[in-house]
């Protein structure tokens, strides 16, 4: 079984976002980039587990990005990916990203495609579903557990007030969240092997984005907390009415 893991590069969660060029771009200077945690901790690690238990035999990685994304690709290789492909394009349009990935996946043919439930930068959460649609295969979103047996996936999903189990034949695209696997730390053997594992760069197919980001805005600074003593109920009501405007 061949598994494809879609990984994307995102700013480290502790990054302080700074905008530039009249708020049309995010300033990446001084930003530490990491593998999107949902792609790494859940999708990739679950694939490694499937390989370790003999169910999968090859794990491929794909990312859409320019050369500056190669460090995170090599980190994914250090964790245990067998080979990687970088589609040489800069995209923050989910459709375009999905199109590039689907075109590549089509050329190889994968039994299972795993991705994170969303990337923690743009949080669109739709690339996985779009890839499935473009490949015309099934999709299960927000998986919290994945078992594979005899070319059938048993996928657990958390739903309002309970849990759902989906059973679906491969090939399949699954987006992963917490519960699918536990984060791993790359070990020295993996880090040293990463250098020797293939990282191929391919040109993107020709396609146009369907969305464009016009401008960014930082969330307003958090307002301070007002503490009102229990005996001042009138003041509380007044503030809720005039300031918070909730009553």
């Amino acid at each position: 079984m061949k598994i494809l893991i879609c990984i994307s590069q995102v700013p480290d969660t502790s990054t302080k976002i700074v905008l530039k060029d009249n708020n049309t771009l995010v300033n990446s200077q001084g930003v530490t980039f990491v593998i999107n945690p949902y792609d790494e901790w859940y999708a990739l690690v679950r694939a490694l587990e499937l390989k370790e238990s003999g169910i999968a035999n090859e794990i491929h990685l794909v990312t859409v990005g320019k050369a500056d994304t190669e460090p995170i690709i090599r980190k994914a290789l250090a964790l245990g990916g067998d080979q990687a492909v970088r589609i040489d394009a800069d995209s923050n349009d989910p459709y375009l990203t999905a199109f590039y990935i689907a075109e590549y996946a089509k050329s190889i043919g994968y039994d299972l495609i795993l991705c994170g439930k969303e990337s923690i930068d743009y949080n669109n959460g739709i690339v996985g579903a779009m890839v499935a649609a473009l490949l015309d295969i099934d999709y299960i979103g927000f998986a919290a557990g994945i078992q594979i047996e005899n070319n059938v996936a048993v996928v657990k999903r958390e739903i309002e007030g309970g849990e759902e189990t989906d059973i679906c034949n491969l090939p399949l695209v699954i987006s992963c969240q917490k519960g699918v696997a536990e984060a791993r730390i790359p070990n020295m053997r993996g880090i040293m092997a990463a250098r020797t594992r293939p990282l191929n760069v391919i040109a993107p197919s020709v396609q146009s984005p369907v969305t464009a980001i016009l401008s960014y805005e930082l969330p307003p600074a958090k307002a301070g907390v007002k503490i009102i003593k229990p005996e001042n109920m009138d003041e509380l009501v007044n503030l809720l009415h005039t300031e918070a405007k909730v009553i």
Binding site: S14, K16, P71, R74, K75, A78, A183, I185, P186, N187, M188, R189, I191, M192, A194, R195
Partner: protein
């Protein structure tokens, strides 16, 4: 003295008499992708396996530290610089220093790690024969076995060769029987292999032995109650006719003291990396707390008194780090040259390390005293919470203190710094006499009232550093002349000279680092680093002046003293800088980034 030679400076101690080119030093901003990935693995390991459990580690929960060492071993972190043929990863010294730095933020864990991978593993790796290495190193590199090192005894600490432990050959000639008591043995509680130093019969010098924990006659005392690093296992180890097979004698008979000293040289340098890592961690904690804690309606990080402390913590740490990696690179280069000249790699590593023993002692002192400053002000920034055992500063403060004591006390290391420098001069390995005479001649001539040279970004600092060298050569030269063989006994003067050398080496390392950084990234993105350099070097000038004055006032007299004091003033003169504004700039960056960010 001012000629930059085309050959890289690779001789230890030469920094006093030779200028170094900035492009020849290694700076931490040059880590490659693989090294950064290894560093990230260390960070993640601490974040997931160590930091959430510091309290349990300090309580010495049964089996926990040993388990953490297993986890570190599984990630490969215990075999970073062990050759691949012995199950390690064969990485260079700088990379193993980076790992030591990163794991240095792990409090007691970092002590267990350093003891195992340094003094616990290296004696066998560097001095063992092939059979010994085959038997022990793969297990130590994987963490299956844990290592410890037994040198200190109740009555022999700094004077290590005076140990009372004795070994004698058994009647059948198959074993050495070791009897003695070893103290302050890190990792003793869970170690499987001990490198033990003892004198055979009435030998003058120590020999070293590889002792397994199950050898008959080895027993452990209970855990010591310590001020800090409480999670690190520290016990006495007793040897009562402990039966050690003759094939477990490490290296030659009476070679033990040399082993101990050489391993300590590496340990001192590594202590530098570890304490730099701990300092960075504490600065991160301090700046985050200062941003959160509000008093008089504002975060305390907005107040100048706190900003000063944050900036000063970063200045000292950045300076120490510059020296650590400069020396690490030099050691590696020296080793490479020795290998190229035909020496085997192990011998080359030992000789390369020995070559930079002066720098190792300097780094040990500076970095441990930096960490002590950093944790002290860390407690202060935390205020009342700094004194609470609920907050992390309490542990950081207590854990830091040992660094000025172990791996040779800072006093021993200061004396060694001067002693080794002078010995090398006597042996003709370092030409201190020529430059010292030149400075003496310069004293009699008309002072240099500022040069007409074109002013460049680093010209002032380079001039200051060149002058610091003159100041030291002048004071040290006079001390040797006046005190002669008595100098070794005048410890206050040795301390003064050591302080001058330390400030010189660190100032120069810092200046070279910033110069190289500017050449890589441009002046605009190095503003805070330039501020760090200027403040540090200005402060260093005052420290050098004070130490020099104290020494001269003790041993010099009359006109000669007056002339030298005037010379000292001239050689430690710097132009005034606005250090308050510089520290504010440095602090502002820390406060925005909320972490150590240089």
């Amino acid at each position: 003295m001012n000629d930059i030679e085309s050959v890289k400076a690779i001789k230890g101690g030469e920094f006093l008499i030779r200028e170094t080119a900035a492009d020849s030093v290694f700076i931490p901003e040059e880590w490659n992708e693989e090294q950064l990935m290894i560093a990230e693995t260390c960070d993640n390991f601490l974040a997931q396996h160590v930091k959430p459990y510091l309290h349990r580690i300090d309580e010495q929960e049964e089996g926990l530290m040993s388990h953490l060492m297993d986890e570190a071993g599984a990630l490969g972190l215990l075999g970073i610089s062990v050759p691949e043929e012995y199950g390690g990863f064969g990485k260079d010294f700088k990379t193993s220093m980076l790992v030591t730095e990163k794991l240095g933020a792990g409090n007691s864990f970092s002590v267990a790690f350093s003891a195992h991978s340094g003094i616990g593993t290296l004696p066998i790796l560097y001095y063992g024969n092939d059979a010994q290495k085959q038997k022990y190193i793969p297990k130590l590199a994987s963490g299956e076995w844990k290592g410890a090192y037994c040198l200190t005894e109740p009555s022999s600490g700094s004077d290590a060769n005076s140990g009372k432990a004795r070994a004698k050959l058994s009647e059948d000639g198959k074993h050495y029987l070791i009897t003695g008591q070893k103290m302050w043995i890190t990792n003793a509680g869970f170690a499987d292999v001990f490198t033990v130093f003892a004198k055979i019969d009435n030998d003058e010098n120590l020999s070293a032995f590889i002792v397994e924990k199950d050898f008959e006659g080895l027993t452990l005392n209970s855990e010591e109650h310590k001020m800090g690093i409480k999670g690190s296992s520290t016990r006495q180890v007793f040897f009562n006719d402990c039966k050690v097979p003759v094939e477990n004698l490490l290296s030659d008979r009476q070679n033990g003291f040399k082993i101990a000293v050489n391993i300590l040289n590496i340990g001192r340098m590594k202590l530098g990396g570890g304490t730099v890592g701990a300092s960075k961690e504490v600065i991160g904690l301090a700046v985050r707390y200062a941003n959160e804690r509000e008093q008089f309606g504002r975060a305390i990080s907005k107040y100048g008194a706190i900003r000063y402390k944050l900036a000063q913590q970063a200045i000292l740490t950045y300076a120490s780090e510059s020296a650590v990696y400069r020396a690490s690179q030099n050691m590696e280069e020296a080793t490479e040259m020795l290998v190229a000249s035909g020496l085997n790699e192990t011998q080359a590593k030992l000789k390369g390390t020995e070559q930079f023993a002066i720098e190792a002692a300097i780094i040990k002192v500076h970095s441990s005293e930096t960490l002590d400053y950093v944790v002290d002000e860390g407690v202060q920034i935390y205020g009342g919470m700094g004194y609470s055992a609920e907050a992390p500063m309490d542990r950081a403060y207590r854990d830091s203190r040992i660094n000025r004591i172990f791996e040779g006390t800072n006093e021993i290391n200061r004396m060694l710094t001067v002693d080794m420098m002078l010995k090398r001069a006597l042996k003709g390995e370092l030409d201190l006499m020529g430059p010292a005479q030149k400075v003496a001649g310069e004293l009699m001539s008309i002072p240099d009232f500022g040069s007409a040279d074109e002013e460049t970004l680093f010209s002032k600092e380079k001039k200051y550093i060149a002058n610091f060298k003159k100041a030291i050569l002048m004071v040290a030269g006079a001390a040797v002349q006046k005190l002669m063989t008595q100098l070794g006994k005048e410890q206050e003067v040795l301390m003064n000279l050591a302080d001058m050398l330390i400030e010189l080496y660190v100032s120069e390392s810092l200046q070279l680092r910033v110069e190289k950084l500017v050449s890589m990234c441009g002046e605009d993105s190095c503003k805070e680093q330039l501020d760090i350099m200027r403040v540090y070097i200005n402060d260093a000038a005052e420290k050098i002046a004070k130490a020099g004055k104290e020494a001269l006032n003790y041993f010099a007299e009359g006109d000669e003293k007056r002339m030298m004091l005037m010379g000292l003033k001239r050689y430690t003169k710097t132009e005034d800088i606005n250090s308050t504004q510089a520290r504010r700039n440095i602090a502002a960056k820390l406060i925005t980034e909320e972490k150590y960010c240089f």
